[in-house]
């Protein structure tokens, strides 16, 4: 095994910049690692060997020519398969997009390319980002590197697993209800959902437009900050993109100082349903924060118990409309056009029935129903009101504290197949992450240790007010340093070798 794959993104970039390693060597080391372990992990749906080596070679040439390299130049990255990349298959984990090669780059992809980041390939995910286990991928599940019989979280299980398995130091995820943070929690990695509007959604195949947000997956808080700074910023192609300065997330990660900060523990995100070991590691982290000079108080967000129900009306409603374009007419799968003399509606119906998996169909039907005339006010309208109440809970909480914290997920990684037939149990994984999406505020998950009962990673979530993403990195980096000194080495080194 090459040492290059054990480096952080920051260390890799420094090695490439100094000439200690070439970008091509770095890329090759990761491609070799993928060849070695991905048959078992199945983090990738597509590996772009030629493209990655060419991008790496371009970085090396630029360096040789004396060009100033950007902070992540030559660092490999795994791209969630929900982001378009020109000419590279983009399936969103769905059969209905099999074979589709987008003619354009998402804004995130374009910014990564411009920064000299080396895109290794596309990562596995729950179909159209619907799920918490990556089991809803049409191309088979991803396995958790900590225990191959367990789920890596979802929907971005492929991105989190790729980072945890040292197949890439960085990955892009997208988070609609926890799809970056929950996989980070169960794989012992760092994942950040930035403020809604901080990172362009142009080229992110939409699940729920008002909730979706792309963000970084990494092994350290600083690496996540470097990636965050690379992809964030206003994009005229996304009307919901925030037009203002990007908070100094890298500076915050380097500062790592919680002295005098007020930190709130969300009362409603604990207790029943939370695994004992998860709660124990969370409580230890609270003690560390207090020890570092933060003032930790309990804060109540009384409307959070309604968040899950509101989310599962808003998301399916938007999703039923967003997924309407997948009809076999212009791209992707087309089914049954030669069977009899079908009408265009029949071909659309056959294509959608064959192309979408059970969870996608379930949510399309739920959303179609919720938006129907006569039900709109009772469902979608009411859910939007709850959404406003959740935002008010956050606003009130942030009057008292600088950041909020909670466990990221109620449990550690569960077994593959364990919750596949019980959608409600699956949905409950996101109970702590969904409120941030409904309110549009940023959230981070970072490893808080291993649960004593199963020796699996536990995630701690930090939430901050909108456009105060830098607070996540400041608190996260401080906590990361304290935890590291407790354990003596990075948590991922505890993972069984693949």
């Amino acid at each position: 095994m090459s040492d290059l794959i054990r480096l952080t993104a920051a260390e890799t970039a420094a090695a490439v910049a100094s000439g200690a390693a070439s970008a091509v060597e770095v890329a090759q080391a990761h491609l070799d690692r993928i060849s070695e372990v991905d048959e078992r992990v199945h983090a990738f749906l597509h590996v772009d060997t030629d493209g990655a080596l060419a991008a790496a070679a371009a970085v090396d040439s630029a360096r040789a020519a004396g060009a100033t390299l950007s902070p992540l130049a030559g660092v490999p990255l795994a791209l969630k398969d929900v982001m378009t990349q020109k000419g590279i298959p983009t399936t969103c984990g769905s059969r209905i997009l099999e074979g589709w090669r987008p003619p354009y780059d998402s804004t995130v992809t374009a910014r990564l390319k411009a920064a000299g980041v080396v895109i290794l390939g596309k990562t596995n995910m729950d179909e159209f980002a619907m799920g918490s286990s990556t089991e809803h991928s049409a191309y088979g599940p991803t396995h958790n590197p900590w225990d191959l019989d367990r789920i890596p979280g979802g929907s971005g299980g492929g991105s989190a697993a790729a980072v945890a398995a040292f197949e890439a130091p960085l990955a892009i995820g997208t988070d609609t209800g926890g799809s970056i943070r929950q996989p980070a929690a169960v794989t012992g990695t760092v994942g950040v959902k930035p403020t809604y509007g901080a990172v362009s959604r142009y080229g992110l195949v939409a699940l729920a437009s008002s909730l979706d947000q792309a963000g970084p997956c990494a092994r350290t808080v600083l690496d996540a900050a470097l990636l965050h700074a690379t992809i964030a910023g206003h994009d005229p192609l996304d009307s919901t993109s925030f037009d203002g300065p990007v908070p100094d997330v890298v500076g915050a990660a380097l500062r790592a100082d919680v002295q005098g900060m007020r930190i709130g523990v969300v009362k409603e995100l604990s207790g029943e349903g939370y695994q004992a070991g998860v709660q124990q590691r969370f409580d230890e982290a609270v003690a560390l924060l207090t020890g570092m000079g933060a003032e930790v108080v309990e804060v109540s967000c009384p409307n959070f118990p309604y968040a899950l129900a509101a989310y599962y009306l808003i998301l399916p409603s938007e999703c039923s409309s967003n997924l309407a374009k997948f009809d076999g007419m212009r791209f992707g799968l087309r089914v049954g056009e030669d069977d009899g003399d079908p009408s265009v509606e029949q071909v659309m119906g056959r294509t959608r029935a064959a192309g979408f998996g059970a969870e996608a169909i379930r949510r399309i039907m739920l959303g179609t129903y919720a938006l129907s005339a006569g039900y709109y006010d009772a469902y979608y309208g009411q859910a939007q009101k709850v959404r406003t109440l959740i935002a008010r809970d956050f606003a009130a909480a942030f009057e008292q504290v600088d950041v909020l914290i909670s466990p990221t997920a109620p449990t550690t990684a569960f077994k593959l197949g364990e919750k596949l037939d019980d959608p409600l149990a699956m949905y409950l994984n996101d109970v702590a992450t969904i409120p941030a999406n409904l309110a549009g505020i940023p959230g981070m998950s970072l490893p808080a240790g291993l649960a004593p009962e199963d020796c699996l990673p536990v995630g701690l979530q930090i939430m901050a007010p909108a456009m105060a993403d830098d607070r996540l990195y400041n608190v996260g980096a401080a906590l990361e340093a304290a935890l590291l000194s407790n354990w003596g080495r990075p948590i991922l080194q505890e993972a069984p070798s693949l």
Binding site: V205, V344, T368
Partner: protein
């Protein structure tokens, strides 16, 4: 295309005797913005299919819309010109339904928060008692995007049934549309078809004056759906309506409403119920045929478009746009009629020719109003009719006409030459000055060449010279004609006659 089914109809005067018609008009206007409503693709008409597209207007996965600011501005200006209130805050909404020429399978439109609402337009209709003004109330005007265009290939009819396959052109997908919807138009009585036509005519005039659209019904940049229903009396509740589409000319607006009234009357008189449906107008046969059933239960699952932010036009901006609106056409009419001192009859001729703005602009360019009217209502209208196009669509400008008239006034052109110049400008030979220069057209005012031509003509026809000398002055016409022919019409005929009589020493 023929229509197999001929439905029974009732004579129009009997319809009016038994029923009270109610209209509702929905007009879709394609804006003339340079780019589409939600992306940067060009909007040029008639380009190669699918060349004016991008991920957004093709609805590719991951693409997002961005609102065209000029589209919003045009919508507000239209609303203001139609006396509407302008929303302080409004949103786009998704109208969800599946159709192959709609790339996203939803149309980005507006639902319960239109940008313009509660307006009116006064239209004038010639009645048995002279001109009468009808007020058409506007329910709303909202922004949306156009769909692509499907053409069905193979089969006998070009329609979807029997076609071998279909082609979709997405160039039109995403072109900005403003949909203008009237409230139910009541109280028109027998003038319902005329009011419908007058409304669309007046609306088109306003839109053209605003410069927001080229409003060509034949090309589909202005499309009208006519809702018609009948009820026993003005006190009765509204009857069941039909919505007639494919109404592609002003004349069709009037004809289709009239036809639909006679058709519905026959159904009602027989004691049957009018079916609520979309109907298709056939210009050639003058009838409507059944389209798809339409009910109020159509469920488009509207919800606010989450990919776009709300539109909140500031009051300052709205007032700026209001202040900069062009003069309302009816106000303009009254003002110029007074200024020109012309009769109602003369004014009507100008308006009917659709020449009001053109004549006014020609006058503004320096021409006399009578001359400007003469050219636009006469010669230029004749050519427009020949070509079957609108006056404004001809490639000649008010400045051109003013220039031609100036040359006539200076004696450089006579009437006949002026007509030639106009025809040449319309044939694309350049400006009036270009045409005069390249064709060498000019009234021959030098007496020398004229005298030579007169001598030549006299030598050719000595018998005519004798007749003139013997006092038969009418015979002079033959010589004048010969001279005009020899000079290819460029001589001033009166001067030729004068010189001829001088030459022969004959007094008038």
């Amino acid at each position: 295309m023929s229509t197999a089914i001929t439905e029974p109809v009732v004579p129009y005067d009997e319809v009016i005797a038994e029923f009270d018609p109610v209209l509702g008009l929905e007009v879709h206007v394609e804006l003339g913005t340079a780019t589409k409503m939600f992306c940067g693709c060009p909007t040029e008409f008639g380009a190669e299919p699918n060349t004016q597209t991008c991920p957004t207007c093709l609805g590719l996965p991951g693409s997002l819309p961005v609102v065209n600011a000029i589209g919003v501005e045009s919508a507000i200006r239209i609303g203001l010109a139609l006396n509407c209130s302008i929303a302080e805050w409004c949103r786009f909404a998704r109208k969800n339904y599946f159709y192959p020429d709609m790339p996203k399978n939803f149309q980005t439109s507006q639902y319960d928060e239109p940008i313009c609402f509660n307006g009116y337009l006064d239209v004038e209709v010639e009645t048995d008692d002279g001109m009468r003004t009808f007020r058409v109330e506007i329910e709303r005007a909202h922004m949306e995007e156009d769909t692509g265009k499907t053409s069905h290939q193979g089969g006998a009819t070009g329609r979807i049934h029997g076609a071998d396959y279909s082609l979709v052109d997405y160039n039109r997908a995403g072109i900005p549309l403003i949909e203008i919807v009237t409230k139910p138009i009541t109280g028109t009585g027998k003038y319902a078809p005329e009011v419908a036509k007058a409304y669309v005519t007046a609306l088109r005039e306003i839109l053209r004056g605003l410069g927001v659209s080229d409003v060509k019904m034949e090309q589909g940049s202005l499309r009208c759906d006519a809702n018609v229903s009948l009820r026993p009396s003005p006190e009765s509740p509204l009857g069941t309506r039909t919505e007639t589409k494919n109404v592609n000319s002003l004349r069709s607006v009037e004809r289709s409403v009239r036809y639909e009234m006679t058709r519905q009357a026959a159904i009602l008189r027989a004691g049957n119920k009018v079916m609520q449906e979309t109907r298709h107008w056939h210009e050639d046969t003058g009838v409507t045929t059944s389209g798809r059933p339409k009910s109020d239960a159509d469920d488009y699952r509207y919800f606010p478009e989450p990919d776009l932010v709300p539109i909140a036009p500031s009051r300052e901006w709205v007032e700026q746009l209001r202040a900069a609106l062009p003069e309302n056409p009816s106000v303009l009419r009254a003002r110029v009629q007074t200024a020109w001192g012309i009769s109602d009859f003369e004014m009507m001729a100008v308006v009917k020719a659709g020449a009001l703005e053109l004549v006014a602009a020609t006058v503004a360019a320096g021409a006399d109003q009578a001359a400007a009217r003469k050219w636009w209502v006469g010669e230029v209208t004749r050519i427009a009719n020949e070509r079957g196009v609108e006056l404004v669509d001809l490639p000649i400008t008010p400045v051109d006409i003013a220039r031609v008239e100036a040359m006539v006034g200076a004696g450089a052109l006579n009437d006949k030459l002026a007509r030639q110049v106009i025809e040449a400008v319309l044939a694309g030979e350049g400006s009036p000055d270009d045409v005069v220069a390249t064709r060498g057209l000019a009234v021959v005012s030098d007496d020398g060449p004229l005298l030579e031509a007169i001598d030549a003509a006299l030598a050719e026809a000595p018998d005519v010279a004798e007749k003139i000398l013997s006092g038969k002055l009418a015979a002079a016409g033959a010589i004048v004609g010969a001279v005009m022919k020899a000079t290819r019409g460029q001589a001033d005929a009166a001067r030729v006659r004068e010189l001829l009589l001088e030459r022969l020493g004959v007094a008038e």
